[in-house]
């Protein structure tokens, strides 16, 4: 069983989404995703002010083995990329749902409801299906 906090929403492409008190959202990759990638050695996050569409590649996580795109789960404007990850990409491995967040985003009007995000239980089903 993967570590899947119940208060987060998820995507089929292994991102998680946390709604912050100011109604912006924080986005990262799941514990399953960081585990599959292995030791991360390079993370590129978007600059604040960039406007992204839903499902647009907007960050890159690279392990020793492979590079992987991270997709915007929701359309909106980037408010911050995690500045710590340039020097310490391994934070994503150590704390994928906390200090290892990748970016924060202000959703476009209606974008949060339009996004088909998954609950922890639904994302678990995605992982179970992938395992077969």
């Amino acid at each position: 069983m993967s570590n899947l906090p119940a208060d987060l929403k998820y995507t089929k492409s292994h991102e998680w989404v946390r709604t912050l008190p100011d109604s912006t959202v924080e986005i990262g990759i799941t514990d399953h995703a960081q585990h599959e990638l292995g030791d991360l050695v390079f993370v590129e996050v978007p600059d604040a002010g960039r406007v992204v569409k839903a499902d647009e590649p907007c960050a890159v996580v690279e392990s020793v083995k492979a590079a992987s795109d991270v997709y915007a789960p929701i359309a909106g404007e980037i408010t911050a990329g995690n500045p710590k990850l340039a020097a310490e990409p391994e934070i994503v491995n150590a704390d994928p749902y906390g200090e290892g967040w990748l970016m924060r985003l202000k959703p476009a009007p209606g974008a949060l409801t339009a996004a088909a995000l998954l609950s922890a239980a639904q994302y678990q089903q995605v992982l179970d299906a992938e395992a077969h």
Partner: protein
């Protein structure tokens, strides 16, 4: 259906992540690829390399056969147990495989070939062996463990009876010998000291567990790849193959053109290249910015021209990205690599990047 080594069950028990490699189901990592890499640079690690092919060639014509099949000259091997690294070429001079051959006696040589090419190699060697009355046996009954790192030999020797352990520790570099039912060789693919040990398949699990209990870390193919790349060693099928020749693969030093009367396969194609110089070369690249170099990324080396990365990775020892790249022969100094749509600066550097745990990028101009 992927093949399995005698250690497959143990890899699973140890929690390894398994991948297909050259048709074999092999461990890519156990816990952390970078942790396994550092274990080998700083202490000792063990790799399952039983997927590689061990071929015994026996008969009165075995030396003549190998002098025909290999670009390097087995006549250089005069003391029993001594090993030679060589390419096996096709008539066009393309690399069919790179391998190690051990001289055991005048009637017996042992060859270790790559996993992905072992079936093709065996067919090629047998096709040529008939004329030399040489018998070729694939030793599928043996497992092979590579124990590598500064502490590797001392740990591995403890698996042997005391007299054999002492004999193993007395081996010179690139020499192997039979010790009981094991064949212990002071060879490797990591840039560290260590042994490669061939043993009956039934001994492999106990040997692995014994090494673990002595503090030798289980290491997967992931760490093996970053270690060999830091050591500037080629990987067959990535850095060279049938479509490339040794001189453009940083392997010219393994081609023995003397004596001129030795007519090895591929010689006729290589001679003009050796005279005129190869148009391309395989070099080391060091990325000067953050990011990771990967195989097939385009390299621009103005004004010499363009080339391509053949292997790229993140170097855990140097904490920056390194690569091997095939470039026009005139390329030098600063180049640009296209990484995910951006042009990043990289520098052509001398190989290897790392040897015996230490960075060889000692000149300040090599350190960005």
């Amino acid at each position: 259906m992927a093949r399995q080594t005698p250690l497959f069950g143990l890899h699973q028990e140890l929690g390894a992540r398994m991948v297909d490699f050259g048709g074999w189901n092999m461990p890519v990592q156990y816990s952390s690829q970078i942790g396994e890499h550092h274990a080998v640079r700083r202490a000792a690690g063990v790799f399952d390399v039983s997927h590689m092919g061990i071929l015994d060639l026996r008969g009165a014509g075995v030396r003549a056969l190998l002098q025909r099949l290999l670009a390097n000259d087995v006549a250089k091997l005069t003391t029993p147990g001594k090993a030679l690294y060589s390419c096996m070429l096709n008539e066009q001079g393309g690399v069919l495989d790179d391998l190690i051959v051990y001289f055991l006696n005048d009637y017996w040589y042992r060859m270790v070939v790559n996993a992905g090419t072992r079936d093709r190699d065996l067919a090629w060697i047998r096709e040529h062996a008939g004329a030399f009355t040489v018998e070729v046996n694939e030793r599928s009954d043996l497992a092979m463990l590579a124990v590598q790192g500064p502490e590797a030999r001392a740990k591995a020797a403890q698996l042997l009876p005391p007299a054999d352990g002492a004999a193993a520790l007395a081996l010179d570099g690139f020499v192997g010998r039979e010790l009981g039912q094991w064949f212990v060789a002071r060879t490797g693919y990591t840039g560290e000291d260590g042994f490669e040990i061939m043993m009956p398949a039934s001994d492999a699990v106990a040997a692995w567990r014994g090494l673990n209990s002595l503090g030798v870390a289980s290491c997967g193919l992931g760490a093996r790849d970053t270690l060999r790349l830091e050591a500037g060693m080629n990987l067959y099928g990535h850095d060279m193959d049938e479509s490339t020749q040794p001189y453009e693969s940083n392997l010219g030093w393994t081609v023995a053109l003397a004596p001129s009367e030795r007519r090895f396969i591929g010689r006729a194609a290589l001679e003009p290249i050796a005279r005129a110089g190869s148009q391309r070369k395989l070099v080391g690249l060091l990325l000067e910015e953050r990011g990771v170099l990967r195989a097939h990324q385009k390299v621009t080396a103005a004004p010499a021209g363009e080339g391509e990365i053949t292997s790229g990775t993140y170097s855990p020892t140097l904490e920056r990205s390194i690569a091997l790249a095939r470039l026009p022969s005139a390329a030098a100094g600063q180049v640009q690599v296209e990484v995910r749509g951006k042009l990043l600066p990289a520098r052509v550097v001398r190989l290897p990047f790392v040897r015996a745990g230490r960075s060889l990028l000692t000149q300040t101009k090599d350190i960005p």
